[in-house]
């Protein structure tokens, strides 16, 4: 019943929102890694459809763009390396080294180096993406996962899923300066763009810890409650802040919802129904659209940020995992030739 209703609601919304949008946002290329299919789906943010599918190495997960937007870099976890694809031609540019089972990469604010968590090795690897060489390895806790970079480029935050900590590491000298205990199975660390806070989601703990990076202390813990959903199913993973840091969007895993949180009062304002097992989130560069990867339902939900409503579900490959949007609008429509 509810499903039917919500589908209908989404259908209605998608019509109204598209009408209301007026001159549509310039189409960006949105890249979605499909963990079980070994592909990246390329979605045009204007057409809201898959325009290309890139065949990748095994088990593509964490996915980011180079600073100039010319490369899309994806962790191919089962191949124990990363791959670089050209965002225009979709051709493989090169492989990058990592440790075993790389999961989430993040770039230094300057664009190089790249830091990647290796889930199977208790290490974060620092990689020069231009030279394609490993600079060093930084030891962290068991099952490193989430990667956050402070906007000034000075602090790297890594979370370890079984040690249940956020490790604060300086990018200058790779010194571990603090280890903060958070709730069970921390997945994602995300800084506000003003650097004032870093939020760490705990998937099994069901919370998001707000950490003051200056004092290195947990200042607040956000919890979630959804009527009709058991607490166990509320499993926060992806966290993204809107343009002015006034609101945060938190993906809640098998609760199939994205929470909208007031990022000043930490009050949860609403829950947006999306696809199944929603893990990661990505804005278009204009912050008008938010894409969510829904692993179990093989789709992404597109959320209109202004209205905080889902406007469309787009079928991707199997088990979509990560998502990142291109930084420049697409020039011409792609031909849509798959693979």
């Amino acid at each position: 019943m509810t499903l039917l209703k919500s589908t209908a609601a989404i259908a209605v919304l998608s019509v109204t929102c598209l009408l209301a949008a007026g001159p549509a946002t310039a189409g960006y290329k949105v890249f979605v890694s499909n963990e079980k299919e070994n592909t990246i789906s390329v979605i045009d943010s204007e057409k809201l459809e898959v325009v290309h599918t890139i065949k990748t190495g095994n088990r593509p997960r964490g996915i980011i763009l180079s600073k100039d937007g010319k490369w899309v870099i994806v962790c191919t976890s089962d191949d124990n390396r990363m791959q670089v694809y050209d965002t225009e031609t979709y051709k493989l540019v090169k492989d990058l080294p990592s440790g075993p089972d790389p999961e989430l990469p993040i770039l230094h604010t300057s664009g190089n180096p790249l830091y990647v968590s290796n889930e199977d090795d208790n290490l974060v690897t620092v990689v020069d993406i231009q030279k394609g060489t490993i600079i060093t390895d930084i030891p962290v806790g068991v099952e490193p996962e989430g990667m956050g970079m402070s906007p000034d480029g000075k602090l790297l935050v890594n979370t370890s899923e079984t040690t249940n900590m956020a490790h604060f590491i300086t990018t200058d000298g790779f010194k571990n300066v603090e280890n903060i205990l958070v709730d069970n199975r921390p997945r994602v660390a995300e800084f506000k763009s003003d650097g004032s806070e870093v939020w760490v989601s705990a998937e099994i703990g069901g919370t998001v810890s707000v950490i003051d990076p200056a004092q290195k202390k947990v200042t607040h813990k956000i919890t979630f409650e959804i009527q009709g959903i058991t607490k166990d199913a509320i499993q926060p993973v992806g966290v993204r802040f809107n343009q002015d840091n006034s609101k945060a969007f938190v993906a809640l895993g098998p609760a199939n919802r994205v929470a909208v949180v007031d990022a000043k009062t930490y009050k949860v304002e609403k829950y947006i129904l999306v696809g199944q097992r929603v893990w990661n989130l990505g804005f278009t560069p204009d912050f008008k659209l938010l894409f969510t990867t829904n692993g179990t339902s093989n789709d992404v939900t597109v959320i209109d940020v202004a209205s905080e409503k889902p406007i469309k579900s787009i079928k991707t490959g199997r088990y979509p995992w990560g998502v990142v949007s291109g930084i420049t609008p697409t020039k011409a429509a792609d031909s849509g030739d798959a693979k």
Partner: protein, 462 residues
């Protein structure tokens, strides 16, 4: 590493046997040093550097932890001199009942590893210590093993009086209860990692006894929910002759009633297991099983009840009717399976394989959960004090992440760890129960096993 460990145990055995009239008792094996030396030196060295260089956050306030070193001093020197004194150590005792009389399994693939259970506990100690390093806590595993439960109980009591508060057991049900009684009034808690018996969770429950091993009713309910989801509602029970089989059969009868299934016939399989390893055998079994399963009423599935795994695996593909087999053979419920990659399980399995050089069994997993429960409590309470940790583990705040896709907690009425149950074949998992649609007012996990309103356990009532 596994080899060096075994060597240590054997050596101790020999030493003890020379010196003492009780040759079976193995003395304590301290894993502290063994566990801290990681397989890849590079890794441990680096990790140690991290600890030394880190300032450690303790309960809201930062405690600076000494001089910042470079990236990687060698592991041996890293736990810097000035810090050692304020590291708190939490010893954990593993108690193993050796069962040489137990029959070997039907399949050569299922021979139990010598360190079954123990290796799981060791992995958890390593996992605990990774976190512990950041919090100045150190976990140490001690081991006693014997064929004689009385000896194990006496030795455990001695260790508890000597300061150990946490015990993980691989014992049969009866000695488990006897141990709990022997430790009554002492500050100690026992984690039962092996015995599935219902009575030790129900009428014979003890307040100082927790269970990470799932109970028979939890296992039976997990399978029943899936069979209900499949609409395979008519069951035939094939029941072995042992008392354990009778207990498990009762759990299946209860599950059938609970989930609207029907046991259409029960047959007892009386069988002399005889020798396992022989050149022949299948010729006769191929004749025997079809004959035994002849003239059954219409049914959807055969449920084999054979906890000792003495004959169950003879049934799949040999039954008179073309029906699937489940229970202790075919599709079976279990707390863990070595092929699980769900919920981050891949890395967990890899860690275990690196440590033990083999696959993780359910007993390993149950022992891992027990030791991790202790570690989790120590981490969250920033304490190694027994009473504090025991109280916390029973409080609603306690939760364990155990690669099951949701937090695990202990039932407040009998100390049983709530957990999803995997349904698997030899190769891989088929599904995980609770199944969708089986609802509960508090947690779906309580649709598996005996629930609060039904419990006969009184020891936990205060």
């Amino acid at each position: 590493m596994a080899i060096s460990l075994r060597y240590k145990v054997t050596k101790w055995k020999r030493l003890v046997s020379q010196a003492s009239p009780l040759p079976v008792l193995v003395d304590s094996v301290k894993f502290v040093s063994v566990c801290s030396v990681r397989e890849r030196k590079f890794r441990s060295a680096a990790a140690a550097a991290l600890i030394a260089g880190a300032s450690v956050l303790v309960a809201g306030g930062s405690v600076q932890a000494g001089a910042p070193p470079g990236l990687a001093p060698p592991a041996e020197t890293a736990p810097a001199a000035g810090e050692v004194s304020d590291v708190q150590t939490l010893p954990i005792l593993m108690v193993r009942q050796l069962r040489p009389a137990r029959l070997p399994p039907l399949s050569l693939l299922d021979l139990p590893p010598k360190d079954e259970g123990l290796a799981g506990a060791r992995l958890a100690v390593e996992d605990n210590n990774t976190t512990g390093r950041f919090l100045k806590q150190n976990f140490a595993l001690e081991l006693i093993e014997s064929e004689d439960p009385a000896e194990l109980i006496a030795e455990t009591k001695k260790r508890v009086e000597g300061g150990i508060g946490f015990i993980v057991t691989d014992l049969d049900a009866k000695p488990t209860i006897e141990l709990a009684d022997a430790l009554k009034g002492l500050d100690a808690v026992i984690f039962n990692a092996s015995a599935p018996d219902e009575n030790i969770r129900e009428e014979d429950c003890r307040a100082n006894l927790k269970h990470t091993a799932p109970s028979r009713t939890m296992l039976a309910d997990a399978l029943a929910q899936y069979l209900a989801w499949k609409r395979w509602g008519n069951w035939v029970l094939i029941i072995g002759p042992s008392p354990e089989d009778k207990g498990l059969a009762e759990a299946y009868r209860r599950a059938a009633q609970r989930f609207g299934m029907k046991v259409v016939e029960e047959r007892e399989f009386k069988y002399d297991p005889g020798s396992r390893r022989s050149d022949g055998g299948f010729e006769q079994i191929q004749q025997q099983i079809p004959t035994f399963t002849q003239k059954l009423p219409p049914h959807d599935v055969l449920i084999v009840v054979d906890e000792g795994e003495l004959f169950g695996d003879y049934f799949p593909y040999r039954t008179w009717d073309a029906k699937p087999v489940a229970g202790t053979a075919g599709l079976y419920p279990t707390s863990w399976h070595p092929a699980i990659e769900l919920w981050g399980g891949t890395q967990f399995q890899n860690r275990f394989k690196r440590l033990a050089g083999r696959n993780m069994t359910p007993l390993d997993y149950n022992a891992w959960m027990a030791v991790r429960s202790i570690g989790e409590a120590a981490t969250r309470k920033q304490s190694v004090e027994r009473k504090t940790l025991i109280d916390y583990m029973l409080s609603p705040d306690f939760e364990l992440a155990a690669f099951k896709g949701r937090k695990l907690t202990y039932r407040s009425w009998n100390g049983q760890l709530r957990q999803p149950v995997v349904l698997a074949t030899g190769k891989m998992h088929v599904t995980v129960s609770p199944q969708p649609g089986f609802l509960h007012q508090f947690t779906e996990l309580d649709t598996l096993g005996i629930d609060k309103p039904e419990t006969k356990c009184r020891a936990y009532q205060k």
